[in-house]
Symmetry: C2
Subunit: 616 residues, 2 copies
């Protein structure tokens, strides 16, 4: 990964513009080339071989799209990354700040800079079908055209591009999954039958992993592996690197070794064959046959299905099934969180603890726990002004020392075989200023407002987002990121189809068993960052009344880590908020305390008891 000094891109841009004009890769010269941040599975976290947007512009955040024209180079990202992107890109690049009113959309920007009748190229495997459609329409209405460039032009100029990984796979038993893959396939087919769907193309890596109860490590932090699947009513085709099919663990788990019921027989095919095989499947379809594919799947794969057979969906039945955790998964997530919280914050610093050493220590302590697999995302360990870089990760050249005078923010999480964790705490080791405490307290009020919210069954998560902001808004403050995301169970730390955000998207109604994060924050550029994040479980609740028998839901925190008392201006809390905090701390003390005691971690237990005293 590159650092915080800008990447020099003059030469790369020259080369890219050359291949955009040349005839080697494009039939006709293209006047613009789009480099989205994803891979062919529209993953958020990607393997090094897929870090094309970072390669061309230097910005290595998880979200961003670069566009290069003959004259310009621009990169769009959201509020989490404004600061980081501006530091990582050289002045050949213009940072396009998404979410600000004055920022042009990609299509409007293209229309404003392109000469008449321009061709805009993009790799059809990297762009999602719905984005292709919107973009193609906007461009064509302005007299331009969007062109699928089969050979990726970044790959064409990327001399030492890494190979696509193919790591060892592991199979998860019933103890972890609660459901055999065969049963998941049958449940999926029941949903297909209900909607009269003949085939379903699985393109998201976490959906393939969840469906087959398999895990890999092809992508750092995400226990997934490069694969596609095509599921029919009597057929299962799994596309993955051939050498994986030879692995006895995989062969046993998928029952490749012995004859099984034809409808549950898994046919393993090479990863690269998916496009041709999907075309072959489609050539056998009757006139009424429909194929489900996520509208966020790649344009290339989507267009392999003839339009009359295509049934695009905003999220797949697997995505929804995966989001609603079963009792085994919920229990696993609880256990993983207990494991994940077996550590105290760094000792009161004597000038020897840095962002990096504190992050390393947290990782080391986590790795000592049962079923630890790895981190679930790069630890954000940030002191003072670094805390204002929302998705900061410490690097040697930016590494600050923890001190008695600056706020410390740590956002970290891990993968365990039974679950995935994600927690953020902000703390001060000396005496925080009144202003820091005031901001922290507003963030806490927002956190509690979401966590303690009672809402009717069927409510969509985005309706809860303003609860997290109300206290900040009242004082003229805000934060430029969503409030919560779905969390996978030993899967991706960010998953759909639910979330809590002011950005309204096709989010499904919340239901009991879903697991999300609750993480409001406040960031002051150049000074500090504050974020308070728990993972929370959607649970039924019974308030006083029950309007139209709809039933009500609320959240139960699964994360059990003290919220630093010295940061709280108690007089700004309502009694209800103080009660919530005291209840929460009591639960931390009970559950984490018992485990610390079992593990004989006396010092940590003393700290825990100190940090969970009730406030008045």
């Amino acid at each position: 990964m590159s650092g915080m000094s800008p990447k020099i891109t003059v030469e790369l841009l020259r080369k890219l513009r050359q291949v955009m004009k040349g005839s080697k890769y494009v039939a006709e010269p293209i006047q613009a080339y789009i480099i989205p941040s994803g891979d062919a599975h529209q993953s958020e976290y990607i393997a090094p071989c897929d870090c094309r947007r970072e390669f061309i512009c230097g910005f290595n955040g998880s979200a961003g799209t670069a566009i290069v024209t003959e004259q310009h180079a621009a990169m769009w990202t959201d509020g989490r990354y404004f600061l980081q992107a501006s530091q990582q890109m050289d002045n050949n690049w213009t940072l396009m700040k998404m979410g600000l009113k004055e920022t042009l959309s990609q299509e409007d920007w293209l229309i404003s800079v392109l000469p008449e009748n321009s061709k805009v190229g993009v790799d059809p495997w990297i762009i999602a079908a719905d984005q292709w459609k919107t973009l193609a329409k906007a461009l064509s209405s302005a007299g331009h055209s969007l062109v699928a460039v089969q050979q990726n032009l970044i790959d064409a100029i990327w001399e030492d591009r890494p190979a696509r990984p193919s790591t060892q796979l592991s199979a998860l038993g019933l103890k972890y999954t609660g459901l055999r893959w065969q049963d998941k396939v049958m449940q999926l087919r029941a949903k297909m039958a209900e909607r009269k769907i003949s085939w379903f193309v699985v393109t998201a890596l976490d959906e393939v992993a969840w469906l087959f109860n398999l895990r890999g490590s092809d992508i750092e932090y995400n226990p997934v592996f490069f694969a596609y699947a095509i599921i029919g009513m009597n057929s299962i085709r799994l596309f993955l690197d051939e050498k994986r099919t030879a692995d006895p663990v995989v062969r046993d788990h998928l029952v490749l070794t012995e004859p099984s019921k034809a409808e549950l027989h898994v046919e393993c095919l090479p990863y690269q064959r998916v496009h041709d095989e999907l075309q072959a499947v489609c050539s056998t379809l009757g006139p009424k046959d429909k194929v489900w594919i996520c509208d966020k799947a790649s344009c290339a794969l989507t267009q392999a299905i003839p339009k009359m057979h295509r049934a695009p969906i905003p999220y797949t039945p697997l995505c929804l099934a995966k989001a609603v955790k079963n009792p085994t998964e919920i229990q696993g997530m609880r256990m993983a969180h207990v494991s994940s919280h077996m550590h105290t914050p760094p000792h009161i610093p004597k000038g020897t603890v840095t962002e990096i050493s504190a992050a390393d220590r947290a990782e080391e302590l986590r790795s000592q726990q049962k079923d630890f697999v790895g981190l679930s995302f790069p630890t954000i360990s940030s002191v003072g002004p670094n805390g204002a870089i929302i998705h900061y990760r410490p690097l040697p050249e930016t590494n600050r020392t923890l001190s008695l005078t600056e706020l410390y923010l740590i956002d970290s999480g891990a993968q365990y075989r039974d679950g995935t964790t994600d927690v953020t705490r902000t703390m001060h080791f000396g005496t925080p200023t009144d202003y820091e405490k005031e901001c922290f307290t507003y963030v806490l009020k927002g956190h509690i407002a979401v966590s303690a919210a009672v809402f009717p069954n069927g409510t969509k998560g985005h309706l809860l987002d303003s609860f997290a902001r109300a206290a900040l808004w009242d004082s003229g403050l805000d934060y430029l990121h969503g409030t919560g995301h779905g969390v996978g169970c030993f899967l991706n730390v960010h998953e759909g189809p639910c979330g809590i955000s002011y950005k309204t998207f096709a989010d499904e109604p919340l239901e009991a068993g879903m697991i999300l994060s609750d993480e409001p924050g406040y960031y002051e550029d150049g000074s500090f960052g504050i974020r308070l994040e728990n993972v929370v479980l959607v649970v039924p609740t019974k308030p006083k009344y029950n309007y139209r028998n709809r039933g009500s839901l609320t959240f139960e925190p699964i994360t059990l880590v003290p919220i630093q008392l010295k940061m709280i201006r108690s007089e700004l809390l309502t009694q209800k908020e103080r009660d919530w905090l005291n209840d929460y701390h009591r639960k931390c003390q009970e559950i984490i305390g018992a485990e610390l005691e079992r593990q004989g971690r006396k010092e940590a237990l003393d700290w825990l008891i100190r940090e969970t005293q009730p406030i008045m």
Copy 2:
């Protein structure tokens, strides 16, 4: 208007099914016919000649779509109307409750009941272009097709259908509008130039009325008139009933009588000519010319624009310009609200005051005020269980007497030449139950939460909706309607493009000068209804901090009517809520009190002073 006993529809349905099969109006038999509730301008309130959905099924609420197939008849409406619709329709009809999880969408229902390869007919003038598109796509993906039936099939069987009205128009001077129509046209053209748009088709009646500073009374409660306009950079075409063009008031106002600058010359053409004229305009377009039309405009008019020239927009620049009131309009709205509030609630009833007489009295008192034009919507005056019918209007057969034992809800408003009003109050003339007071207090908490909310510039209204519900949700209660709608200035009482609702639509960010309603409620079927509605103005505010210099907004109530103190359980309010209420009541006393004094209404003044005492 029909009453609350169901309309007998056997014979009408038989006739409709006959014309659906016959060859007189349709080239081939259709298996389903859709009857939306709107007119050719997608108006919410419609003229009697356009009440086709009511004619066929009996339900006379403002929103609903009927669909008739060979075997079935179903009608979709939202939570405001579930009770009313079930009472007004006979058992040939199935009520489809929108917003409930188990309710099929129109397309899914059609797909579930239709035989293969069915044709579904609809009048292309009544269905909006965006709805046509969605529906056509869904139907065709299931093997059916959507067919434009040029002759409306309801009109074909409607023997005594009323004529389209053509009322006297009046011109509004600068004193009321703050801006000449010529200046509005020039501002519109500047926006067209900015987006490289050559023509703009004005289809919404309130947009035509606002643009030309003209008002009519073709539709009850809405001071609009049937017209279209096509605006080019050098041309203004106004389509309206020819006899209106002869009216000297109109001729003077539009400067038809003397030669004017060519670019501001208004060419008046017959109403019916709009389609052919639009086609004629389009036939002269260059390859890059674009025509703006709202995506909610009729399918017929939208398709008159060749696709390559069509630039559909979710709301028009006029819609947005109209929503942000200028200082003259704001002042007018304030004055209209003072006029509208010159009355007290009915005297403590002696059994002689009914829903109808109370509504009539409120109307009479309003009509005595300066600049009164008429009501802005049918008064909802409802006692006890009638209050639970959200858009109830009293009829002789449902008329209840106000009493000392039941809650009374009145939602009323009027049109004045300087503004439009809309206010709801719920009150009790005896001793309310604790439960009624509890529910009222939750509704009040929600009302205050929205009214007192501070939020950043650029916030969309739908993000505020949950604030209105939080207190109800906490106790397991809710209401099945949005929280607020835009309010026109001597125009429609419901207008876009902003609102406060859990339904997310293409709402524009709130900005200072917009005027909306804030009206949470609670309804208990068979018992009572509670709603508290103020009209509120979006105003800038300066909280303690100013994050990223974005600035903050809040609301200022323009409605100044006491909120009944005896309904409030003060102990359920926070100090901040009590302060808001006391401040609000102080303002009511000051402003309305001064006017009551000026008008010598001693009794009303005494009542006002009593009802606006501070609470502790």
